[in-house]
Each structure stands twice: as structure tokens, then as C-alpha cells.
């Protein structure tokens, strides 16, 4: 049995839904479908989720909502019309959308969460209606009915363990189950959403809970590529990779699959197949457990990110003080800042973190507290930092990988400001100036893939 998730662009219009139906018809083992909200139909289009957030804000501000609900409904009406769905079958969906504004919620956050979730919910109901009209036995399955129970965080919920025993009731159904992605139900019976892009998470939970053989994740790319196609023309598509390779690459911007969605699939050892709704015959990228993986190349991919900044600290005889780093991390903890990496010299420490966590004010306040508490000889805030991740199961215990990474950078006069290898055994992390990163990524890619091919 296959669980199949479709992204927003795959469900953005009638013609896209037509492709989805063909994909389901092509393989009768595709028994569980996870929907996203209708995405963009063209570059400047607005995603339904964003329209729903606008709707929620208007309700909270007690403003007029007729125009925005009309805009939202238009998206579903258009899809319904494409498949000639009778008005009496669409009317209940429209009513559900309009009724949202009159409902009571325990907080504004839960109101927004519930509004957002209806992008997926209405789309799942609509898809069920369409499948039934096509003569394909199918059933809409709401997370509430399914028992997909989540924590009480309206916009960043996490699945609770009882979900998996609840889901066993839904295994081995004859009809296709159509499940809206992105949200679950709290123990207080309210809708709470996963973080943005969370339909991937619903798919993974369903794949685990319903014991799927494979989890197909349909998007609008042919495969995950070894390098960003914006940096290198026609890069090698990754045929197969491990969960943790995907995770390491996601870290620096491979955004094909949601981080958290990996957890249920890893727990249940279910392979993920990233495929293209527009070219369903392409093999796509298969993400598998380590034990099922044979690396084809030394490295699987390389990516960079500009999301990071660093604090550099120097203090003489720093490494003789047992409590120095502890005090530093206590300050980070106090300000709710999570750090990513902490390369250290003998008298030096660099802390690298996601810079989106900081406002200018917070930055100043925290640096001041570090100076007061730890009295470093020197403290420097480094903003111009790009992190490059070179990832590959194939580099484990292979000699000369580092040479092949740093060689082309030296030739192209790119300075390496940080390098961190040895913690993760399947990746090497480098720091460069942001301006150097795209060239560095391209050079590293070329040095491995033109030779390995």
C-alpha cells in the first residue's frame, strides 16, 4: 500500500487535479491521499493558505470578509467547475468556509490555525467528491475522525503517540482515503497545524500509522538534485539517498521535504519517493534507510546557506576553565537562542547560530551579557557567514575527500574561514564569505561529479 502526498502546485487547478487522478488510477495500491491547499497557478498567484490567513485576520479585526471569502471560494469553485461538480455538492463546502467566521475558538492563535487548516480540509473534501464522480470509491477522512492527535501548540503542533494506535482502525480499507494535510486535533478537540509545509508531516504520520510500503511525495521537481540547479546547469539528479543525507542537505536549504516529516518514516523504515506530478513516470528520488543504501558517488550533494551568523570569543587560557562554555550556553538558553555549532581553539570559541533568531536589540543585549559574565579579551559578531554542507554516505572512511573539497577552492582563491568535520560522519561543513559560497558550491560539485561520472 502506498501513501501519496500532493503538494500545493499539484492541487492548484482542475488541470493539475486531473494529473493527480491519473496518478491514482495508474496504480491501485495508491490507497491513501494527502492533500495540500491549492497552491500557485502562476508566478504571482496567491496560495489559498495565505488568503485564509488574511480571512482570519479580518475576522479578528472585525472587518468585512465578503471579498476575501469570495476570492478563496473562487479557487475551489474553479476546480469544481473543471470537473463539472453539481452546485449542490459544492454548496456545503462553501458554507463551511463562510461558517468559520461565526465559530468560537479558545484563542486568536487557535482561530488562525483553524482557518489555515481549511485550505487542506476543503481541498480534501473536494478531491473526494471528484474521485467519487469518476467512479473511484473514496472517503474523506478528517484528522479528527482518524484520531490524529497533536500537542496544544496552535501553529507548531507535534504528533502525540496515541495517534498511531488510533490509526490502526483505518488500515487495509477498500476505498481510497483522502486525508487533509497540515493539521491534527488537540486533546481539547481543537485544530492545530504543524509548521508551514507540514502536509509532508501528515503524509509521514499516515504512512507509519497505516503501515504503508512506501510514501510517495509528489511535488513539481523531477528529483532532488546533487546541487542547486540555479548554481550549476543540469546537475545530477539523486536517484537514491539515505534519510540522514536528506536531513543534512535540508539543513542548508534543500527544501524538498519537511525536516520533521522524516521522523515517522525513519521510525517505521518506510522509503520516501520524491516524484513530479507533471512527470509521474520519472523515477524521482528514493530516500531509504542506511542499510538499504549503496552510494553511487562519493558525495551525494552539496548546498549552502546564508542563514547563519557567529560570535567569536577569545580569552587567554580559556580551555583551562571548566565552566566557560557552560556559562556561555546558559546565556544562550536564557535568551532562547539555540546554537548550531561551536568550533573551538585553545583560547578561542566560535558559536554559530541561525541569525533569524536575533533582533538588533537582542543581539546587543546578549553580547553585552556575554562580555559582563565571561570577560573575553575579544568578542566579535560575524555576519558575513555562509555555511556549505558537503554530504555523502559514500565519504565514510574514504580517504582524500577533504582534499577533493578544498583543492578547487584553493585554486579559485576562495578562503575557508571555518571547517568542521568529525561529528557527523557523513558530512563536512565549511564556512566562507557569503559572496564566495555559490562559486565554492559549484566548484566542489564539479570536482566530485565530473570525475566520478
Amino acid at each position: 500500500m502506498k501513501v501519496v502526498k500532493f503538494g500545493g502546485s499539484s492541487l492548484a487547478s482542475g488541470s493539475q487535479l486531473q494529473k493527480v487522478i491519473k496518478i491514482l488510477q495508474a496504480d491501485p495500491s495508491r490507497k491513501v491521499v494527502i492533500t495540500s491547499a491549492p497552491g500557485k497557478r502562476f508566478e504571482d498567484d496567491i496560495k489559498v493558505t495565505d488568503l485564509l490567513i488574511k480571512y482570519a485576520k479580518a475576522v479578528l479585526a472585525q472587518k468585512e470578509t465578503a471579498k476575501i471569502t469570495e476570492d478563496i471560494w473562487q479557487r475551489y469553485q474553479e476546480i469544481g467547475d473543471y470537473f463539472q461538480i453539481p452546485a449542490e455538492l459544492l454548496q456545503p463546502l462553501k458554507q463551511e468556509l463562510l461558517n468559520l467566521s461565526g465559530q468560537q475558538f479558545s484563542s486568536s492563535d487557535f482561530l488562525v490555525a483553524s482557518f489555515k487548516a481549511h485550505g487542506e480540509k476543503l481541498n480534501a473534501q473536494l478531491l473526494t467528491t471528484i474521485l467519487q464522480k469518476k467512479g473511484m470509491p473514496s472517503q474523506f477522512l478528517d484528522p479528527k475522525e482518524a484520531g490524529l492527535i497533536v500537542t496544544n501548540d496552535p501553529h507548531n503542533a507535534h504528533v502525540l503517540p496515541q495517534t498511531y494506535s488510533n490509526l490502526t482502525d483505518w488500515q487495509n480499507r477498500e476505498e481510497i482515503l483522502v486525508v487533509p494535510g497540515f493539521y491534527g486535533i488537540t486533546e481539547n478537540n481543537e485544530i492545530a497545524t504543524f509548521s508551514r509545509g507540514g502536509s509532508d508531516i501528515t503524509g509521514a504520520i499516515m504512512a507509519k500509522g497505516l503501515a504503508a510500503d512506501i510514501y510517495e511525495n509528489f511535488t513539481d521537481v523531477n528529483a532532488v538534485y546533487a546541487v542547486n540547479p540555479k548554481l550549476v546547469a543540469n546537475p545530477v539528479p539523486i536517484k537514491s539517498m539515505t534519510y540522514r543525507e536528506l536531513r543534512e542537505l535540508s539543513y542548508t536549504g534543500f527544501s524538498v521535504f519537511h525536516d520533521e516529516a522524516l521522523i515517522p518514516t525513519i521510525e517505521a523504515k518506510i522509503p520516501i519517493n520524491v516524484k513530479n506530478t507533471n512527470h509521474p513516470d520519472f523515477p524521482g528520488t528514493l530516500v531509504v534507510p542506511e542499510k538499504d543504501f549503496k552510494p553511487q558517488y562519493t558525495i551525494t550533494g552539496v548546498a549552502s546557506s546564508n542563514h547563519f551568523a557567529a560570535i567569536y570569543l577569545h580569552r587567554y587560557m580559556l580551555n583551562k576553565e571548566t565552566g566557560f562554555t557552560l556559562k556561555l550556553l546558559e546565556i544562550f538558553y536564557k535568551y532562547h537562542i539555540s546554537y548550531e555549532h561551536m568550533p573551538s581553539g585553545i583560547d578561542d570559541l566560535t558559536v554559530i547560530f541561525d541569525k533569524d533568531q536575533f533582533t538588533d536589540e537582542l543581539k546587543e543585549k546578549m553580547c553585552e551579557e556575554i562580555k559582563q559574565t565571561l570577560k573575553p579579551d575579544h568578542l566579535e559578531w560575524i555576519d558575513d557567514y555562509a555555511i556549505i554542507m558537503v554530504v555523502g554516505e559514500g565519504m565514510r572512511n574514504k580517504i582524500g575527500v577533504l582534499k577533493k573539497i578544498v583543492e578547487p577552492l584553493a585554486q579559485k582563491n576562495i578562503a575557508i574561514h571555518m571547517i568542521n568535520q568529525g561529528a557527523s560522519r557523513i558530512s563536512i561543513m565549511l564556512g566562507t564569505k557569503q559572496a564566495d559560497a555559490p562559486k565554492a558550491v559549484a566548484q566542489i560539485y564539479q570536482n566530485f561529479f565530473t570525475e566520478d561520472k
Copy 2:
């Protein structure tokens, strides 16, 4: 004015002291002399400090001490005889040694400290007597009289700030001041020693407190070498290096100069000249502030150490937890373990530390607590770890250094298990298997020095 410190082998015998006297006569600006205890005269010889520890233990165990005091005194008698010092001038020194056993101390630790310190103290008194006999105006200056005040740690004392105002009274003396190294006086008026090799520290404190122009540190090597001469034949002697280069190299076993002794010299910006008592005309190695330094080579030195072990931790989504490392360091802190480095991946963390801190029992206990508290998916204790430090002010902002380091290792099939660059800006740290380290160090040395020369 020069402060001059002589190591134990330079003061081990009459013929060695003869060289010391010539060194002092050759340069009248050598006005302050720091003594060590008599060291080894030949390979299997026993250092006087070790004999004194034996003496202290015999007293504590209320055992017979006649034989051991005779062995100790014999060393001083031999030197006295070499310079034909009359018996009545030696007798008070012998009496001081014998009287030690009858004195009261506040604890066994302070007893041992005081016994140990007499190796240096008696040698300084003896040297003063010899210099006076040679017609060189000189005065024995005990740390007590000088006001060298230290913390209340019997075997690991640290200088207290009032020392430096006390020492101003002793600036610009006509006669040579002979100061015993290795110890100071606590605020309770007891002798406490620095950590082993601490005569270097006394010299540095004196150099700062007496406002020396240079601190000459006489040992038995011609210079600090760019690599251990046991690994590479005839390595390049380092003519000049910075304080922090010396510090980084000391970290992995360049044992020419005591770590802590650098602090006063850095504070007072006094250059250190490491010289050979046996070849005083050789220029030796000059250790200078960064601002006075022009690198001659890209790297200054390379060294390795087997003192380290590591704990490897893997846990999925580790980097999303703000408190993970904090909890880990709290455990380290609780067990009084200081860590050295902590390279991290996304879901991995390696903690590297000095393995001498662990007993088998402590290791097991701490690993168990880490498992209980942090519940890692995987914990591994890595014993076979060598750390290689490549150090050089000349590598700052220089492109291609990393390439030159990893290139020869790849060619020689040496696997790099860890690499850490970016915290300290003048060093790169690598981890290899211990068996690979000597070859790796030699290869790195060859790749930089045969080309740079």
C-alpha cells in the same frame, strides 16, 4: 635588564654551573637569575625534586630519613666541592635540609610543597655563594622576602596581584639577584609550589615585576623546532614566533616552556628567548608579541598528542533542542571534567577531552549519566584519537593552507577523522588514529617546509 632562568640540567653539576657563570659574566645586563633544582646529570639519574618528594613521604610515614637526606645533600656537596666552597659556608644549607623534617606544617600537602621547593631554594643559595666567591656581587632573594605571594593551593599555586607592587622594591639593584624558582609564599606565610616545571613561571613573574627588557630561558635545546626532531631529522629551528603560537604548540606537547609562564610575559609584553646553556652563542628561539612578528614561513610548527579521547553522541533532531549541549556540559561540570573541543554535526556531537581526567569507573559512571539524561540514539567512547595541531600566524587569511595540509595525508592514505578550523585563526586541528599521527605530522611538515625554504 635581563631576567635569566636556568633549567634543571643547566644546574645539575659543577661543570654545568660553570657554564651558567660564564653566561652571566658574558652579559652584565643579566641581573636576575632564576634557579631550578639540580636535574639529571645522566640518563638514569634522579632529579633532586624527586628525591625531596621521597624525603617528604618518609617523614610523613615516620620512616628513617638519613639515607635519603644524604643522597640529596650529596648533589649540593658535589657542586660545592667543584667550586671549592669552604665547609662552613655549605654547613648552613645542609642544616636547612635536615631541619625540614622537624618543622610543623598546616597539612601534609603543604609539607610536601615545602620539601619540594627546597630543591630550588638550596640551589639558589649555593649559586649565590659561588658567584660571591667568584667576585660577582650577588644576593640570594627568597620569594618570601621578595613578596612573591600566591594562592593557597600547595601544589598548584597561582600568583596574586600584590606580588607586582611588592617586586617594585627590588627593581634596579646593583648586585645580581638569585631567586629560587617554582614556589611562592601564601598569605598564611607558607610555601606553595607552582605546577611541575614552574620555575619558568617564577622567571616570568620576576621579568614582569622587575620590568625586564627580555626574559632568557636557558634549557638544553638549541631552539624550539618546527617539528619534533624524533619524527623528522634536522628540522627547521624556529627563529621567532608569537606567544600564542607557542601556546598552541605547547598544547600538543611542545614542552619547552610552561603554559602559565606565558601570562606575565604577555601582560608585560616581554620577549622570551629560549636558549641553550651548552651553546649560549646560538640565537635560540625568540617569542614575541604579535605586533612585532613577521612570519617567515606559512606555518610555524606542527605537533601531535595522544592525550585525548572523545565521546561521540548521535540523536535525531539534536540541533533543534536548545538545552542539549547545556545538559551535557552540566554533567561534565558535575564530574569536574573539562572538555577541549566539541565539533558538532546536525544530529551529532563529539566531545574531545584530556583522557587523563578519567578512571575506568568515572568513565562508565559519566557515560551512564549521559545516556540516562540525554537519551542519545548512539553513544561511543573513542580512545584511539590523536590530535595534530598545525600552527602559524602566517596562515591567517592565506588561501590554500588547508589544501597543503590534507594533500599529503590523502597521498599517504591517512584518514582524517576530525578537522576543526575557524575558532583559532592561527591554527588548524586534525584528528587521526594514533598510529597515523607521526607520519601525518612528518608529511605536513615536509609539505610546508621543503617548498617554503
